[in-house]
């Protein structure tokens, strides 16, 4: 994470940002290449699992169950973690979380910290906060290091520097690590990072991490990663501070059997990522002598209270929806003006901003439904997008929501999206029903009845003959031997 941060209240709308980013052909090439590679790998390791759909359903149910009893599981986690020697802190919002971490770092007596990639710390702008009190944070994940040294912003939740290619990365490392002869083979770049960070791992006394799963039953924490930088940060420092959103808790140790299958295959297209670490509080003679965990709300309880949007909190941050999204693949992640880009960002960001900003994001989608199909925990992203559009429209029309044609249309669409079958049927029907309304150029410029007011100000594009979803399935059918 670099010192510049997204300020969702100030970034331009998605549509404005996307327009200018579409001109960056190099970035678009990089994003397309990387997402193609990762999708290809994902497909192979997902297709070899005959029980993939069953795993997804279990993943969904575990998350749904946990969210329903979140108070119970958080308290259970707190009790067990405390018993095991951990210290549990609670933070209502980003500012509170930052203050707690800064305080803990100061108490640890260190003016440096080593950090594992954590979207939650990005969300709260932790590095900037630490820097303001004279604490330097070293990002240790390769992609995060690239972002930090390039004074850039993350564009993907799993591979934050996905928008950079190897030559660009070499230029950044050459300059920042003072290595004029650095090669541009990925192995050269990884070696440079290894050498640069090794000394920091051995020297810095305080580590900061996020978490993938908090295990209520044991009070344990699970972090998944690839490079081993995570293990370094989790085991070598004297003090470890972990920050996690309250939704990261899972009921039992056994539940990991579902998520440790869903996550790596969805995220990086691997059967298992190189490293998973599970620790429980403080282990005498193994790892940090003091362990703190900050449980952060930061608008998550607002999302919890919204029945239709609650499923947003089931996300395990695999990034699969980003890789497959035709919109993300065109614009890259920065257009979303948030650390959470792509379909998950389009639903999560405005909600984390409590709908005060990011209102353009629910429109950053063609509603093709591909994100829903790849999501390992079956989050119906299109349904949530429509629900949020409805909210945005209601905000816009302040009280006239019920009579507003767009609001009505969104309500109807929200209904359609609540069932995958209904949604598919509607897509097919929509194509038939709209035929007489389509002009030669394929634009729907007039809609009968209430919707008329809507099309007076904007053109609605004709539904494609074959939806992306249908095309995708067909492609899958012809691809699969």
């Amino acid at each position: 994470m670099s010192l510049i941060t997204f300020d969702p209240a100030r970034v331009p709308t998605f549509q404005v940002a996307a327009k200018s980013l579409l001109g960056d052909t190099q970035m678009r090439k990089n994003v397309r290449h990387a997402t193609d590679v990762i999708q290809g790998k994902r497909k192979i390791v997902v297709d070899e699992m005959p029980d993939w759909q069953q795993l997804r359903e279990s993943g969904r149910q575990i998350k749904e169950h946990t969210l329903k009893h979140l108070d119970h599981y958080l308290q259970q986690f707190e009790e067990n973690c405390t018993k095991a020697g951990g210290v549990v802190h609670w933070a209502r919002d980003a500012a509170e979380a930052r203050a707690i971490v800064i305080d803990l770092v100061k108490q640890s007596g260190s003016n440096e910290v080593i950090k594992i990639k954590s979207m939650t710390t990005e969300e709260i702008g932790l590095n900037k906060g630490l820097e303001a009190v004279g604490v330097h944070a070293y990002e240790t994940d390769l992609a995060e290091l690239i972002i930090q040294m390039g004074n850039d912003l993350p564009s993907h939740i799993v591979v934050p520097a996905l928008h950079k290619n190897r030559q660009q990365i070499r230029e950044i490392f050459k300059r920042e690590m003072n290595l004029p002869n650095l090669g541009d083979k990925p192995a050269d770049l990884a070696e440079a990072a290894r050498t640069f960070l090794r000394e920091k791992f051995l020297r810095v006394k305080t580590g900061v991490s996020g978490a993938n799963f908090l295990i209520a039953e044991t009070g344990g924490v699970c972090v998944t990663e690839s490079e081993g930088n995570g293990r370094m940060c989790l085991t070598l420092p004297e003090t470890l501070i972990t920050i996690a959103g309250v939704e990261k808790v899972i009921p039992r140790y056994q539940d990991l059997e579902v998520f440790l299958q869903l996550l790596p295959r969805s995220a990086t297209g691997e059967r298992m990522n190189p490293y998973n670490s599970i620790w429980t509080g403080v282990h005498p003679t193994d790892g940090p002598r003091s362990f703190h965990i900050v449980l952060m709300d930061n608008a998550r309880t607002k999302i919890l209270a919204d029945d239709e949007a609650r499923q947003t909190l089931a996300c395990i941050r695999c990034g699969a929806c980003q890789n497959i999204c035709p919109v993300y693949r065109q614009t890259g992640g920065h257009a979303y003006g948030s650390v959470y880009a792509g379909p998950i960002g389009a639903i999560l960001t405005p909600q984390l901003q409590e709908m005060h900003s990011g209102q353009s994001l629910p429109y950053a989608s063609s509603l093709c439904g591909a994100c829903y199909e790849v999501c390992p925990v079956k989050i119906n992203i299109p349904e949530v997008l429509i629900h949020l559009r409805h909210k945005v429209v209601e905000q816009d029309t302040q009280g006239f929501g019920a009579l507003n044609p767009e609001a009505l249309a969104m309500k109807a669409m929200a209904m359609l999206f609540t069932s995958e079958r209904r949604f598919r049927a509607a897509q097919r029907m929509g194509r038939m029903a709209e035929r007489p309304l389509v002009n030669k150029a394929g634009w729907v410029t007039w809609l009968p009845g209430l919707l008329g007011g809507w099309t007076q100000v904007r053109d609605l594009h004709e539904m494609p003959r074959q939806t992306f979803r249908e095309w995708f399935e067909q492609r899958g059918a012809t691809d699969g031997k």
Binding site: H89, P186, G228, W279, K302
Partner: protein, 218 residues
């Protein structure tokens, strides 16, 4: 921290408002047990198939794979280390002494300062269990496996796995690990790697960049 206590009360209150009144522990447990789990729980291949799958997955990750009977471990360890040119190896307490060839210097981890381990050319350990389907080896803080840093700092890891400890699926592994769920645990699947540059998995960043696995078969 008083502030944190206030935050705790407030967050739990918000959750209860959002989710309705809280259920009792027994009801929640019953509900958890009712979660649908129709995915594969147990092995679908025989013993030999299992070994093959595990070896195949390890090679996929670019790890070296060897098979040996219990009486041949020492000789094989000696041979592999000679081929790798390793003279000083870290070992955790509790490593079986009959695995250690005399021509190599073994440095036992004393769990203090990590620099003696960092100075070693590699580390030799046993393992708690392994998962064939994913090519994963699980290490816990146990005799022969040691604290987490010992398998992290050296650039090379030679891991001896008793073939009887290989299961096929992740659910089988989690069931076996349940009893030691509190122990510090590391799953590793091949050498350290990154896919952060153009999404291409390349071997080796901070953890051991080279991994060999010896399977002890009966």
């Amino acid at each position: 921290m008083a502030n944190s206590l206030e935050a705790r009360t407030e967050i739990l209150r918000r959750i209860r408002v959002a989710t309705g009144k809280s259920a009792n522990a027994a009801a929640i447990e019953a509900e958890w047990k009712a979660i649908q789990r129709d995915y594969k729980l147990a092995a679908s291949v025989d013993r030999e198939g299992l070994l093959h799958q595990f070896e195949d997955r390890l090679r996929d990750y670019d790890a070296g794979v060897y098979r040996v009977t219990a009486d041949g471990v020492r000789a094989l360890v000696g041979q592999i280390l000679a081929e790798r040119g390793k003279q000083t190896m870290a070992v955790p307490a509790g490593i079986p002494s009959e695995w250690l060839p005399s021509e190599v210097t073994f440095v036992e981890d004393l769990r203090g300062d990590v620099s003696p381990i960092d100075a070693c050319e590699g580390v030799l350990t046993s393992a708690t269990l392994a998962i064939a389907e994913t090519g994963t080896i699980v290490l816990q803080d146990a005799p022969g496996e040691g604290r987490r840093a010992v398998t992290l700092l050296p650039d090379y890891h030679l891991c001896v796995v008793d073939a009887a400890k290989i299961v096929q699926t992740v659910p089988e592994a989690m069931a076996r690990l349940q009893a030691t769920a509190h122990v510090a645990t590391t799953f590793f699947s091949g050498p350290s790697a990154t896919a952060d540059i153009e999404m291409t998995r390349i071997k080796g960043v901070h953890g051991p960049r080279f991994v060999d696995v010896i399977l002890i078969v009966a």
